[in-house]
Structure formats: C-alpha cells, structure tokens
C-alpha cells in the first residue's frame, strides 16, 4: 500500500509543470480533504504477475493524475485517491484471503480484479457478502448474470469478439472454413466453445472444434500438424496466452500453413516479434481498447503517466484504463452515498452515460452486456482488432458491443 503511494508521489515530482511544484511543497494545489480507497486484487508476483500489475499500474496512474489535480470531485468534496493492492499469487485460497483483507479488514467497497476465472469465482462469495463491487477480467458468465450483481466485466469478452472478427474475415478475406485450438484450461476452453458456437451461427465450415494442448506445453509441432493438414482458411488460437502465441504461430507457419491465424485475446507485440519474427506477420488479435489512432489527449496523458508508474507501456493498459475511471465517474453521478453503499452505484449503472474520455471523438461510454448477461454488467470499451504488419500492430477495425 505504502509503496504504491510512494511511487505516486515520486512520479508526480518527476512530472513537469505546476503539479510538480505543488507536490514539492508537500500539498496539492487544492488540498483533497477526504480519501477514497480502491483495492486491486490480482496476480502481482510470480510468472504471471503482468496480468495483475497492469491493473495496479493503471489504477495508480489514474489516481496520480487526479491527485495531482487536487483530488477527484464527488458531491461537494474532493477526494484523495488511494490504491491498495493485494496479491492473489494465482492461488484461489490466497485470493479469498486477499478479498477478505480488502473488504473486511480495510472496509473497501470497490475492487479491481482478479484476473482469472478461478480467482474471480473464488472471491465472488466474499464480495457478495460485503456487497462489494468488483471488476474482474474473467469471462465466466455466472459472475455477471443474475442473481449475481456485484461483478462488472472490465473488457470485451472473447465470445463477443469472436463473431465480430470471423464475420470481418469472411467478408474481407473470403474465409470459409475454420479450426480451433485451445490450451486445456477453463478460460481458454470456454472461449473455444463459444468460438465454435459463433462460427456455426455464421455458417462457417468447422474442421476442428476441440483440439487442445497442455498449458505448460512448449512444442507445438505435434499438436498443430493434424490441424494444418486439414488446410482450414482460418485457425483460431482460443484464449492463447501471450507467451504461447508466438510458438504456435511459428510452428503453424513452419508446418507450411498458409491461411489466416487469429485469437480473441490481447497479445504483446514484443513477445510476438521475439518469438515468431516474420512468421507473426498477418496475425490477428484483439488490441488494448486504446490505440494511437483513436486516443484522446486525456488518453495520451494517461499513457505518459502510466509509463512513469510502470516503466514501459503495455497495450493491455489501454483496456484496463477504464476500470477506476468508470468507478469514479459512476460514484460521482450516484452521489457521495455510493462511496460506502454500492446499492446506489448499481442503481446508477443502468442509466449511466458519459462521453468516452479516452477516445478522440468522445463517443458515448456506458455499461453494456444485456445481450450476454441479461443486465448491464460490462464496461462498454471499444473492440479494437489488430493485425501484425511490418513488425507492429496495425488497427484492422474498431467495433463496439452494444
């Protein structure tokens, strides 16, 4: 907790202009009198730390920006923002203890995270007992479908992205047949199932619907050769981890595969380039919700702040930037009462609408999800689809989930 605040102060100091002077004097220009604390629950250590750390850095960057401006206004007061992280270590047992620490020990009512289905499902009972709003980055529908009401999906679910991407490829690239490959773990398998259902609806010819590989696998020649032999127009790597994607792409291409390759999850271009080099060309993935092509000035400033906090920009941050902003804006609309009482927050969600501060043309930003969850329990972030071109991501198109 103290670390994140210290990082915050230091970055404010490092920043240019009036904010830096104000911080040097020890107090922001207009002193925030009250404090609002939000929790970040996620994988913060170990090999998968990147998932949770991006959440933490995003929340910290947003908090830093508002704090430098004197706090976030809710009702008549300005609130100093604090971010308290809790590590799940990717272990449901520890995630539950962490959730209890945030909700009971510290009495927080707004938490960002966890990052996986197992983590989110494990902490859901704890969150529901204390009526805490949480924003998991997990796709399991039962989290967001009634009677559940406290979880808000912070991103585009793969089953929402899939049909949009397939349709685009059918129309623009003449894709007629499709195969799916997933790692044998809940999130990926679910995405594979949803992808197959979507493809069936689009009348695509499904050549392989249930191929899987072991999550710790590192050699994919054996796994991919039967798939490649069927020569589908498109192979979808359902829910593929950024670490695995380049290995799969390289293996598929080395086996002589000539068709399209895509996934519905976000990827990291540096990892793709290092691991697959020129083989990665043409690979289609879902991007962070903020690309240079569509970002507003506010988003540009956020990206700068993020770089100060985290050291380097991560494309994922473009999606996760929405979490704390949405919590704050919704509370501001619902009134100070929502700070401690999430019922007021939930009541506000249905009608909530603001101009999207992160996008250039400021399209409306709402809660969505009625189609998939029967209630508005998803942040309406834009769907950016990328293609690797000349070693970097290029925006193929931008879509929305209504």
């Amino acid at each position: 907790m103290s670390t994140s605040i210290r990082i915050g102060r230091r970055t404010v100091l490092a920043g240019a202009g009036g904010a830096a002077v104000a911080a040097t004097l020890g107090r922001p220009a207009i002193a925030a009198t009250k404090t609002f604390t939000v929790g970040v629950l996620g994988v913060l250590s170990g090999p998968d730390a990147a998932w949770g750390l991006v959440n933490k850095y995003c929340a910290t960057a947003t908090a830093n920006m508002y704090n430098a401006a004197g706090g976030f206004p809710i009702g008549d007061d300005k609130y100093h923002l604090e971010v308290v992280p809790a590590d799940t270590e990717l272990d449901p047992k520890i995630a539950v203890a962490g959730a209890e620490k945030l909700t009971q020990q510290l009495g927080l009512r707004y938490v960002i995270g966890p990052n996986t289905d197992t983590g989110a499902l494990s902490v859901a009972p704890v969150m529901n007992r204390s009526n805490t709003i949480f924003i998991p980055y997990a796709f399991s529908r039962q989290l967001y479908t009634p009677p559940a009401e406290n979880a808000i999906l912070g991103m585009i679910a793969s089953y929402e992205a899939g049909p949009i991407i397939y349709k685009y490829l059918m129309q623009k690239r003449g894709v007629k047949s499709i195969s799916f490959l997933a790692s044998n773990e809940p999130d990926a398998l679910d995405q594979q199932k949803q992808g197959v259902a979507a493809a069936r609806k689009l009348n695509l010819k499904i050549l392989s619907a249930d191929a899987t590989y072991q999550p710790s696998a590192t050699d994919f020649f054996a796994v991919l050769s039967p798939l490649v032999r069927q020569k589908p127009d498109l192979i979808v790597f359902s829910g593929v981890a950024p670490a695995t994607a380049p290995l799969l792409i390289k293996a598929a291409r080395q086996l002589g595969y000539k068709g399209q390759l895509s996934t519905e999850t976000a990827q990291n271009i540096k990892i793709l380039q290092q691991g697959a080099g020129k083989y990665a060309e043409g690979f289609i993935s879902v991007g962070g919700a903020s690309t240079p092509a569509i970002e507003s000035d506010y988003m540009t400033r956020f990206a700068k702040e993020y770089q100060k906090v985290a050291g380097e920009w991560d494309d994922e941050a473009g999606t996760k930037v929405y979490a704390l902003e949405m919590i704050l804006r919704t509370i501001a609309k619902a009134g100070p009462k929502a700070l401690t009482d999430t019922t007021a927050f939930k009541a506000e969600m249905d009608s909530f609408e603001i101009a999207n501060p992160f996008m250039k043309d400021h399209p409306p930003l709402r809660y969505v999800g009625t189609g998939y969850f029967q209630q508005k329990r998803q942040i309406g972030v834009p769907l950016v689809v990328n293609e690797v071109k000349n070693g970097s991501f290029q925006t193929l198109f931008v879509g929305f989930v209504s």
Binding site: T218, F221, A243, I271, Q274, G277
Partner: protein, 286 residues
C-alpha cells in the same frame, strides 16, 4: 507419420541432455537435483542475452550458458550440498535442500530476467521437407548439436581421467577415496558438468521454444520422468528414458493433443514402476 518421427527424434535428443545431466549428479553425489529445470532456464536466458540481445554468435551464447550453469552448480555443491551431506543423518535433508535451491533460482530469475516470455531469432532460418514431414533447420541444428554433446559426454566419462574418477565415485565413494580419487573435487566437477548439460539443453531449445522465468519446474518434472523410466543413476537408462519420453510426447500429441497425453504418460509410468521399481536399467553405471 514422418512428422511424428522427426518430432520424436528432436525431442529425444534434447531430452537426453537433460536426463544425462540429472543422472550424472544423481549417480555421483546421490542427489535428486530439483533445480535441474531451473538450470535449464538459466542456460536458455544466457543464450537469449548473448545471442538474442547482444547479437553475439550463437556458439558464444552456448558457451556462456554452459559456463554460468556450471559455476552455479559447482557453487551449490561446495557451499550447500557438500556440508549438508557431510553432517546430515536423514536422506530427506539433501533433497529438501535441492527444493530450496530450485525455489531460490526460480525467484532470483524472476527478478533478474523479468516475467516475460523471451525468444530469439532462428540461427538458421528455413524449413526442410522430408517425405511429407517438415523439419525446420533450426530443429535440425538442435538435434545435431544435442547428439554431438551426448557423444562428447559419453566419451568424457568413459575415457578421461576425471571421467573415470566420476565413475569410481558413483560405484563406491569410500573405495574411490582409498584409490586416491579427490572425492571433493570430483563431486564438484560432476555437479558442474551435470548443471552445464541442463544449461546447454536450455540454450539450445530457447531457439525453438523460447523461455520464461517460470519454465523450470515443468522441465524438472520431465527430467524426473525420464530417470524413473530409465533407472536413476544409469547413463543408458537416461538415454532410454529420453527416447521413450520424446516419442511418447510426439506420438501422444498427434493422437491426443490435449492433456490426456500427459495423463496417460503418468499412468503408464506408475504402472511401469509397479512392475519394475528400478526403471528399465536398474543398476548403477558401466
């Protein structure tokens, strides 16, 4: 079909390096090296930095990988394992210590190398086609270098003075001492060579599979499986274990691509050990 054969050969050759390393350590100081996968990972990162980041020749990367892991192995042996083995009364102690060193390397690697998946460009780009199967030149390189290294090691153990000392040590520690073998130095050398083999295996495979700081434990488990199949402490057994596992994976994945393959490998392994608890080749060295 050809593809299965090709994949099996490449995997087996590389696994042989891993299995030989862990077997060497096991036979010489009677220790199950839990940190073997971690040494593999360190070797892979060395090649990543030397060859991938600093653009020095790939061979230089392999040399650095071997040296660094050998030094780590030697230091572990001298400062951790040798004292504990000398004083301990329980067999468990040295194994738990090995678990400790594995955790140590895991967490240090996370700080030193970061959590990101890394990869390096191909040393030799391009793909060869043999009878309907695909063999990228990069994998061919891994296969050839692995086989050469296995050959060199076998020659070293069989025909050189330190190699003979190691075999003597593996057969009977006290007798070896009486015969004038410097037991301390030979143990350290054996551990260093075993560690270097893991490092070399990692350094070679990073060109095909990439590497991340968390890759160690999975490799260690593979190493365990191989020595359980072949018989702990037997060179021939290690090679056999590597071939069996390599082909089990390549055949299994092409028939049952999911995690059923590993479930079957595990179950087969347990059934096999019930019949033959000492592995296929149940007696030590030579």
């Amino acid at each position: 079909m050809t593809q299965i054969l090709i994949d099996g050969c490449v995997l087996s050759a590389n696994y042989a390096l891993i299995a030989l390393g862990i077997t060497l350590i096991f036979s010489i100081i009677n220790l199950l090296n839990f940190a073997h996968g971690e040494l593999f990972m360190v070797g892979a990162f060395m090649v990543y930095y030397v060859y991938g980041v600093f653009h020095l020749p790939f061979v230089a990367g392999l040399v650095v990988a071997a040296l660094v892991t050998a030094v780590i192995g030697a230091l572990f042996e001298k400062f951790f394992f040798a004292p504990v083995m000398r004083s301990s009364t329980r067999e468990e102690n040295s194994m738990l210590l090995a678990v400790g060193t594995a955790l140590l390397l895991d967490s240090v690697a996370l700080f030193a190398f970061g959590h990101e998946q890394r990869g390096v460009p191909d040393v030799i780009p391009g793909v060869m086609q043999i009878a309907g199967g695909f063999l990228p030149y990069q994998r061919l390189l891994v296969l050839v270098v692995s086989l050469v290294l296995v050959g060199v090691l076998l020659w070293f153990v069989q025909y050189t003075r330190p190699g003979r000392a190691m075999r003597a040590l593996a057969q009977d520690r006290d007798a070896a001492r009486l015969m004038g073998v410097n037991v301390e130095r030979t143990s350290m050398l054996g551990f260093a060579i075993g560690a270097a083999l893991a490092g070399l295996a990692g350094g070679l495979l990073v060109t095909v599979q990439g590497i991340s700081a968390g890759a160690g434990p999975a490799i260690s488990i593979k190493a365990f499986i191989m020595i359980m199949i072949g018989g702990a402490g037997v060179v021939g057994g290690a090679l056999l274990g590597a071939v069996v596992l390599g082909f089990a994976e390549s055949i299994g994945y092409s028939l049952l691509p999911g995690s059923e393959t590993y479930l079957l490998i595990f179950v087969a392994l347990i059934l096999f050990l019930i019949i033959r608890p000492q592995g296929i080749m149940g007696h030590p060295w030579g």
